[in-house]
Symmetry: C2
Subunit: 353 residues, 2 copies
């Protein structure tokens, strides 16, 4: 029987609750599909600070690098927000991404038919939206040097090299080949030199993918177009900070932020996590929605473990749960037949498999 090593980072806030439900579902699907998953848990974020004094312990880096893939909950909380910058949960997260070499952050924004009313946008605007935002994750202004704040003047550097743009660009084109073969590259080339290099490099990559249609859009216009007519997009590829903003916009456009997964991939390993945060305000109450994390586990099966049949089963199990009218509290207003707890939702989805 095929066996995979999965590293688990539960993190802070609702992280532990939602990851537990994803494991429940993974166990059900691996049993039914005839492979086995071995989990090892590591610390990161606030809990790592509390237990070890640092947001990213060395064992976590090594453990995840040696695993087949990592399932991640969420980190952070007010408790740690006043620590010095290099001790904060966010710093741990950024160092973690860099250490894992996960340069491509994939964030699908899709609509579940049952939840088309959960968006603040009109149903006719969002029905059928299916966008994949591909965000560069370990470069750009997040990591650029020099960076400084002397209390009078402060600056950061938005920088990309051609190889950095090439590797994320190729990822995006490969993804587009498996989808509707349309890429919109987002930049601010009318103002920024770094965007001009981004745009020129995307044009060069496009030559290797004659079937894919490449277009360019300025970031301000892209933010508007996501609100005006999100259906026009297939794959969006963009740099780190623009991707941070646009992927959040895209997920809010489709509305059901408690349902959306993400994958961060590179040449070494991959990290799968819900797009939502650690929501400390509702932690421990059993009301968090575990679906985004369960769907992240499905992405892990599909992209990192090659178990797409198992991934399809999870997708179907989630759809059935929603169709049957089960909702966690966050979605109670949208055609709920029964409002269930975090762990009940996990049970229902696991049973559907």
């Amino acid at each position: 029987m095929k066996k995979y090593d999965i590293s688990i980072i539960k993190g802070d806030g609702i992280g532990p609750e939602i990851v537990d439900e994803a494991i429940k579902v993974l166990d059900a699907v691996s049993y039914s599909c005839g492979f086995s998953l071995e989990y090892k848990e590591y610390l990161m974020g606030g809990i790592a600070i509390d237990v070890t004094g640092t947001p990213l312990p060395k064992e976590t880096v090594e453990g995840v690098l040696n695993s087949d893939a990592c399932l991640f909950g969420a980190i952070g909380g007010e408790k740690w927000d006043t620590l010095p910058r290099d001790l904060r949960p966010e710093t741990g997260l950024l160092n973690f991404r860099e250490a894992m070499g996960v340069y491509a952050n994939l964030r699908p924004a899709i609509i579940y038919d049952e939840l088309v009313n959960a968006s603040t946008l009109k149903p006719e605007v969002i029905e059928g939206v299916d966008i994949m935002v591909v965000r560069e994750l370990i470069g750009g202004i997040y990591f650029g040097k020099p960076r400084e704040n002397d209390g009078f003047k402060a600056f950061n550097t938005m920088v990309y090299t051609k190889p950095e743009i090439e590797r994320i660009g190729k990822q995006a084109f490969e993804l587009a080949m498996k989808r509707d073969k349309r890429i919109c590259s987002v930049d601010k080339a009318n103002v920024l030199e770094v965007s001009q290099l981004w745009r020129d490099t995307m044009e060069e990559i496009a030559k290797g993918y004659p079937e894919v249609e490449l277009s360019h859009m300025y970031v301000d216009n892209a933010a508007m177009q996501l609100v005006r007519n999100p259906k026009q997009f297939d794959v969006i590829v963009t740099g780190n900070i623009f991707g941070d903003i646009l992927s959040d916009t895209a997920s809010m456009v489709v509305g059901s932020i408690g349902l959306l997964p993400s994958a961060s991939t590179g040449d070494k390993t991959a990290i799968y996590e819900p797009i939502h945060g650690s929501a400390p305000d509702i932690a421990g109450q059993g009301i968090a929605n575990p679906i985004a994390t369960i769907e992240s586990a499905a992405m892990m099966l599909r992209y990192s473990l090659g178990q797409s049949e198992a991934a399809d089963k999870i997708d179907a199990a989630i759809k059935k749960a929603l169709k049957d009218g089960y909702r966690t509290k966050d979605l109670a207003a949208y055609d709920a037949k029964e409002v269930v707890s975090t762990s009940e939702m996990g049970d229902i989805i696991a049973n559907n498999i």
Copy 2:
């Protein structure tokens, strides 16, 4: 009789058509309120390139600096997009902003009751939205140095000094005092040093305005919140590139982008312009919506000339035109009783005064 010198930049695309209608309305209102406006026209953007070889002729800079205020149409078009970077219309625009010292870009996003359906967001989400986005306009990554693109590596610098943040911050607090006394400062302080200085400085300024409530939001969250619940905002203050993205998002949230004005102000002079672009595809057809430009002229009367009674008259005249069911083509789908041309709309509004 009080007399003001107004510099006029019509620009490219639909620029000339819409500015002409604003002048028509300005003439009507100045006549009725007993002051006089003297206009001098200057070139900028594509037309300036065609006529003088440069996007920003010296006479334009001098002429506008010597005027009481500048009414601006829109610039740019595909025709000039392949020119070297320093000859493009956009470069002219950025140099113009810098030369005019207009560090504060004010972009109100409001809803006209008659057009609440023109947004892709649900009416209940946007009814009553009244946001003022205050964007820093002559600093940040737009102007930061060093900046370079050698074809292999490219970078820009996002930089702010404390005095730069202080002057835009004070503008925002002064505006908030005349509104609902709530400011949301948007940054990415969990990642960027330059944002940390921004945040710290905003906190310091806030001490001088005990009546104003200051909150902070990360830019990714702000983009989401504008879509999720735009009513939560009163004044938003942010840096140049974040403001570029968020002000466009905010205007699309309220929907009727053909109606929204802007003001760029500083210590020397001020520029008033619609937020939409030059729309070369519909230029010369007499179908452009002049209301955003007419409303920009109203802002000019209010902020630069101290003629707020005249500004109120324009506001009322626009509201009446919309209430009476007159619509330009862009808004024909929203309760139009009669679809009118650009110049007919100008006539109707001028007659309402």
